[in-house]
């Protein structure tokens, strides 16, 4: 199995995030592997261990993203590829990311490509499906179970509040949803070995991509933090009085009914 995992370096949304000048301040922010990508990495390692083959983790980003790739290598991935756009591009969007990845992957004969369901920063969930479309292969999103038998694949995917069972075949791209597995902690020997594993660095030139081909199509108008959540209110009194008051408040205060 030739397995590729798309990995994104994102800021940790559980840490303090400061927005200033319409940008998220990178100084002081903590950076992590996008949590959904961790499920993808874990699944890739498990599938490789069970079926043989190789796991390559791929990211688009700057020099700093090497850290996240090394972490994936420490977890057990075999190789890593950093498509470094730092010098060539100021911005990336779903279109340009998917295009760059497709140019990289088009001749790699991937059997399975795993990505996260969404990246917790932008939250678009588009890069995976767009990439599959560009490569002309099947894709299934928000996967919570993946069984591979030869080239046949049985999948359970999350659909709002329920699940759906599907059958498809390789080559395939899936996006990982929480529940797919329990990502492992990198082992210490894994950490010690990570530095010695191959990490290839590519630029747009190496992929024969022209900067004009990857001009972003999305314009960011504004970035702001969600408003502070006001403290909740606990209603008191007997049940029917509470219901009455709730309906009243929904009508007069929240103005939703």
């Amino acid at each position: 199995m030739n397995i590729f995992v798309l990995v994104k370096r994102t800021f940790d949304t559980e840490e303090k995030i400061v927005v200033s000048g319409g940008k998220i301040q990178e100084d002081g922010a903590e950076f992590i592997i996008n949590p959904y990508d961790e499920y993808a990495i874990e699944e890739a390692i498990q599938k490789r261990d069970a079926l043989g083959g190789k796991v390559t983790v791929v990211t688009i980003g700057g020099e700093d993203a090497e850290k996240q790739l090394r972490t994936a290598l420490a977890m057990g991935a075999d190789e890593a590829v950093l498509i470094n756009t730092e010098d060539d591009l100021d911005e990336l969007d779903q279109y340009s990311s998917a295009y760059i990845l497709s140019e990289y992957l088009k001749d790699k004969e991937a059997d399975l490509i795993l990505a996260g369901n969404v990246a917790i920063d932008g939250g678009s969930g588009q890069v995976g499906p767009r990439l599959a479309d560009l490569l002309g292969i099947n894709y299934v999103t928000t996967v919570t179970s993946l069984e591979i038998d030869g080239t046949n694949v049985k999948i359970v995917r999350d659909i709002e509040g329920d699940s759906e069972v599907l059958e498809t075949s390789l080559p395939l791209l899936v996006t990982a949803q929480q529940g797919l597995n329990e990502p492992r902690y990198p082992s210490l020997p894994g950490i010690m070995k990570a530095k010695k594993k191959p990490l290839e660095e590519l630029e747009l030139d190496d992929l024969d991509i022209d900067e004009d081909d990857v001009e972003v199509k999305v314009e960011t108008v504004e970035i702001y933090l969600p408003p502070q959540k006001a403290a909740g209110r606990v209603l008191e009194g007997d049940l029917s009085a509470q219901v009455k008051e709730l309906v009243n408040l929904l009508h007069s205060e929240a103005k939703v009914i």
Partner: protein, 381 residues
């Protein structure tokens, strides 16, 4: 030359992130219960074994990971931050149990005794202290007399960490006398040897989930080849061992203090009195600032001692400074953390009282604060 560098290496950074998450996600839960029930953290150590942490600084050929002393300090700190019993178990396992075998063992001994320590099959332990020989470890009374190619060991040891979970341990004994001079040697003893009794009946102030034992040796026979290192060098060897162990205790102190500060910061931001959060009172802010200062200074010095050791340079004085300063500061920080919590801090649920009880050992084990000062003074006089 650009040697001055405060950055962790990529490996150290990755390890820190991994063990920090493990500590928060796995070690923290159940720490109150383990303290109450004196329950040894068996499951946690199973996971640490799977993660390859148990043989951290030892060579790969014995199943270790070949990592450095700074990495050892990082792991010990992070485990101690949420559960100091887990921290001391780990620190003693590595620096008292594994280290002397690694430093002084023959190839054969390392294969046989260090390997199971690296894999986590056996915990590491070290028997030095006796009822009448604590700070004055040279006062050892346990004897090992050579008879027909076997050491026959008689005596007792007190306060020995991890021994109930060890398959073998090194201990010190008198192997000969020359007038008033004792010849002290270290000997590896399997814990299932006949005549070897291990009791864990102490009622301790803290570190309740760690294993502290009394060893009783009655005509315990081990082959002469179980001599660890050079005959008569037992005293010198354990001094070297303790130098390394002190880095572990100091790292524990930093971890406990950091854990206490984190809890105090969180509490101060939530608790309201007089219409304000405690964190809005300058009195509280200054307490927190002092705690932060002490922790940062201690951690920096722990890293320095560890770094010197990794460079193969003398580090005995720095290890003593780190241990002395860090353990005393941990007591101060935990005390203040309780104070900031007010009456709640006195309650087990808020954990800071446990941190204080656990921290007290750090001023005593592996050389009391007074002994550290003796070591430091000896270096400058």
């Amino acid at each position: 030359m650009n040697a001055m560098n405060f950055d962790l290496t990529a490996e150290q950074g990755m390890l820190q992130k991994m063990i920090r998450e493990f500590s928060d996600e796995v070690v923290a839960s159940g720490a109150i219960e383990r303290d109450k029930n004196k329950a040894f953290p068996v499951e946690i150590f199973k996971q640490l074994s799977d993660m390859g942490i148990m043989g951290l600084p030892f060579p790969e050929e014995y199943g270790g990971a070949g990592a450095d002393t700074i990495s050892f300090a990082i792991v010990t700190e992070e485990l101690s931050r949420t559960c100091a019993s887990t921290g001391i178990t780990y620190s003693a396992h590595i620096s008292l149990g594994g280290a002397p075998l690694h430093l002084f063992g023959t190839e054969k001994q390392k294969e046989k005794y260090l390997t199971p320590i690296c894999t986590g099959e056996s915990f590491g332990a070290f028997g030095l202290t006796e009822p009448n020989a604590g700070s004055d470890a040279g006062g050892t009374e346990t004897t090992a007399s050579l008879e027909n190619g076997e050491f026959v060991i008689n005596g007792s040891k007190v306060f020995i960490t991890n021994a109930s979970y060890a398959k073998h341990l090194a201990l010190t004994a008198i192997t000969d006398r020359n007038g008033n001079n004792k010849e002290i040697s270290a000997i590896i003893v399997p814990t299932d040897a006949q005549g070897f009794t291990i009791k864990s009946e102490y009622e301790k102030m803290g570190l309740n989930a760690s294993n502290t034992t009394e060893l009783i040796l009655e005509n315990v026979r081990v082959p002469e080849e179980n001599l660890l290192g050079v005959r008569g060098n037992g005293f010198k060897q354990f001094l070297t061992t303790l130098d390394g162990g002190r880095i572990g205790i100091a790292a524990m102190a930093v971890g406990i203090a950091q854990g206490a500060l984190n809890k105090a910061v969180q509490y101060a931001k939530e608790r309201k009195q007089f219409g304000k959060t405690l964190s809005q009172f300058q009195a509280t802010q200054f307490k927190l600032a002092d705690m932060e200062v002490k922790i940062q200074l201690a951690r920096t010095f722990v890293y320095k001692a560890a770094w010197l050791k990794d460079q193969g340079r003398p580090f005995g004085k720095e290890a003593a400074i780190a241990k002395y300063y860090a353990s005393e500061m941990a007591m101060e920080v935990c005390d203040e953390a309780i104070q900031i919590h007010g009456g709640y801090g006195y309650m087990k649920e808020y954990e800071v009282e446990r941190y204080l009880r656990d921290a007290k050992l750090l001023e005593i084990g592996e050389g009391t604060s007074e002994v550290q000062k003796m070591v430091i003074a000896r270096h400058i006089l």
